[in-house]
């Protein structure tokens, strides 16, 4: 591949292929849960498919898309990319790792879900491939920082462009998060799966997994916010309402995204209640930057509407470009996030969590947040960036226009019915919601069938997206390349401020992680522990 966005294109391509595979599996899962039969509906294939869907969507699609976005933004906003050759090596390592991990799952050797909690034991290739993927992403993070340093040498006093501020935030969160993952996978799972050590402590492994698992959410969300803050206001025809507050939001994510993992372990034994309460506090703190974002983004939309001549209280909403696939995606993604965010506040509520823990409610929640807020924003971004990096006109434009609305509709059906089923007690990730024909299954049956209708609508929406992308990329009419333009703030930032001192904030974040995890880990490791051998019940 040639051209200044070759690296970004390559990363986007892997992301979209992973998305396509995972979308095909998802629709079958929604049918299986609802007890709708189809050829090849089998228990082993269901759990294999849940594992593949989780890994391909939550890890591969997001990570590659975000890496592509980082490369693209560095090129556009900094006018440079450091160490391009190294970056290609990182891409190769990550891609090989992905192929190894995906192959191991599809071969039926790793149906351990994307949380891979031991003592469920996958084939070592699963863990080794995942490690390579993460190592490749570390190379990306290094290239991002090197590109920024190179730009900084030439611009000693200019504040870093907001989009790059957000990407650097993403990189910092990723390094803090994947430290926990590396301890779990390299330090515990790989030696155990190779038989070098006999036993593993499942609780310690889970704790390191969730050290990674929650900041992972902000690794997805911050780049999404970058699109909302820096591209959306421009597409809407307006300006960014406040630039310094966007920087504050990013810094708050650096501080509070990691020391929160126990809110995924509220129901775990072996962790004292006081520490779970502390993580509740930090989890609520991390809600705050999203509240601020809601104001800034909606205010930016209002600015756009008024610049187009809207007068009354709500006229500006109608003046926005709802027919533009990027704008529609982002607008619907934001609307969805209001519901996803409030659901998240319930999940994080210390005691109330017991009502929803590990039920279908959680599936519904994460399909609103990562499955729509993040994924739909990324799909919208593909419609925006693809013509600009390939120099080709968007093909099948009508499909692109309706696709975000279809996604929204499908997710509304799926998510609403699964939220309700979860509140009534349906466990998440079951091959069949009838659970051995218990009478409870009857009341779940209607809800899961509505969910399956949602699944089919989402599948159609995915096909529309894939068709538009594939045809644009291969046969789109060559045209004058439009520039990628970042939104201007209402009041430009002229000097570097407190929110630009990312190194200092990273140090504070490490301090918070030590406070939140230091004592609980020491205490966990000082109990008399026995450890578990591996099990392969799939």
């Amino acid at each position: 591949m040639k051209g200044k966005h070759a690296l970004a294109s390559a990363n986007f391509a892997v992301a979209i292929i992973a998305f396509g595979l995972a979308a095909c599996l998802a629709v079958l899962q929604s049918l299986s849960i609802a007890d709708i039969s189809f050829p090849m509906r089998r228990e082993d294939l269901y759990y294999l498919s849940v594992t593949a869907h989780g890994v391909l969507m939550a890890i591969v699609f997001t990570t590659f898309f975000i890496m592509g976005l980082g490369y693209l933004i560095a090129r556009e906003a900094l006018g440079r990319l450091a160490a391009v050759r190294t970056a290609w090596c990182g891409f190769a390592v990550a891609t090989v790792g992905t192929v190894i991990t995906a192959g191991t799952i599809l071969a039926g050797k790793a149906s351990v879900l994307y949380t891979f909690y031991p003592p469920l034991q996958a084939h070592p290739a699963f863990y080794i491939g995942a490690t390579l993927l993460v190592v490749g992403s570390w190379v990306w993070g290094g290239v991002m920082i090197a590109s920024y340093r190179s730009w900084r040498r030439d611009h000693p006093d200019t504040p870093v462009p907001l989009a790059v501020h957000g990407i650097l935030t993403t990189v910092i969160i990723w390094f803090l998060a994947t430290f926990g993952l590396a301890v779990e996978v390299v330090g515990m799972l790989i030696p155990w799966s190779l038989g070098l050590v006999e036993k593993i402590d499942p609780l310690v492994a889970r704790t390191f997994f969730w050290w990674f698992g929650h900041p992972l959410v902000y690794f997805w969300l911050v780049p999404t916010y970058v699109l909302w803050y820096t591209i959306m206001p421009k597409v809407a025809g307006g300006r960014l309402f406040s630039d310094p507050l966007a920087r504050m939001v990013f810094v708050l994510f650096i501080l509070f995204s990691t020391p929160v993992g126990f809110h995924h372990q509220f129901a775990d034994p072996g962790i004292g209640a006081g520490w779970k309460l502390l993580h509740t506090f930090t989890t609520y703190a991390v809600l705050y930057p999203s509240f601020v974002t809601a104001f800034t983004i909606i205010a930016s939309m209002e600015v756009a509407g008024r610049m187009k001549g809207a007068k009354g209280l709500f006229d500006w909403i109608g003046k926005l470009p709802w027919g533009d696939p990027f704008f529609a995606s982002v607008g619907l993604a934001m609307l969805t996030f209001a519901f996803g965010g409030f659901g998240g506040a319930i999940n994080a509520a210390y005691a109330m969590n017991a009502m929803v823990h590990n039920t279908a409610w959680i599936q519904a929640h994460l399909h609103l947040t990562v499955g729509t807020t993040v994924a739909l924003s990324f799909m919208g971004a593909a419609y925006y960036f693809l013509p600009r990096i390939t120099g080709r006109e968007l093909r099948l434009a009508p499909l692109a226009k309706i696709q975000p609305y279809l996604w929204f509709l499908g997710m509304a059906l799926f998510s609403t019915s699964y939220h309700i089923a979860g509140l009534r007690g349906l466990p998440r990730r079951v091959y069949s919601a009838s659970l051995l024909g218990d009478e409870m299954g009857a009341q779940w049956a209607t809800l899961t069938k509505i969910g399956a209708v949602g699944g089919v609508v989402l599948f159609v929406s995915s096909l529309c997206f894939l068709l538009v992308v594939a045809t644009t990329w291969t046969t789109g009419r060559r045209t004058q390349v439009e520039a990628i333009e970042f939104a201007q703030p209402l009041a430009p930032v002229e000097r570097r401020g407190i929110w630009d001192r990312l190194g200092m904030w990273t140090a504070v974040a490490i301090g918070l992680i030590i406070i939140a995890y230091g004592y609980p880990l020491v205490s966990m490791l000082s109990h008399e522990r026995f450890g578990s051998p591996g099990f392969v019940p799939f």
Partner: protein, 159 residues
């Protein structure tokens, strides 16, 4: 940093909202003692089935009238099943697993905990009304995870 007046108001409201949420949680935890299961006790998972306590799972009535349910969650069943407990009395559940991680959820109640090999989960609750509840494993534990269901029967206590 110049911040617009409306945005300042919103930032204040959002901060107040978070403080109210947290206050509700702290009051529930402090005044009503509503906590998630957070018992700290370890056990060798490879010898659970020979353990004096977990080797004979079941329901035991203590001299003071309280009830202890000792329960083993295994691939792919709960032992004992059904669990029979009296209504209106404190019931303490003690759970562990000899194999992989399981979940223990009594549908229609807020009894919902992880069962992690090597650790004992423990919580106490009471069931006001007699009746039957479905018990499900809500953590993926292998090929027949969805078949891992049980029953909890709450019985009327005659005086």
């Amino acid at each position: 940093m110049r911040v617009d007046l409306y945005e300042k108001i919103w930032m204040g409201v959002a901060a107040a909202l978070i403080v109210i949420f947290l206050a509700a949680i702290v009051v529930a935890a402090g005044a009503y003692a509503i906590h998630p299961q957070s018992h700290v006790e370890t056990i060798d998972p490879t010898t659970v089935l020979e353990d004096p306590e977990f080797g004979n799972p079941g329901v035991a009535i203590q001299p003071d009238g309280s009830v202890v349910v000792t329960l083993v969650a295994e691939m792919f069943f709960f032992d004992p099943d059904p669990i029979e407990v009296p209504a209106g009395r404190p019931v303490t559940f003690r759970l562990t697993s000899p194999d992989v991680i399981h979940g223990f959820e009594i549908v229609g109640t807020n009894a919902n905990t992880m069962v992690i090999p090597g650790y004992v989960s423990e919580f106490t609750m009471s069931f006001a009304e007699p009746g039957e509840h479905l018990v499900v494993c809500n953590e993926y534990c292998g090929l027949l995870h969805h078949n891992m269901v049980g029953k909890l029967i709450v019985q009327e206590v005659g005086e």
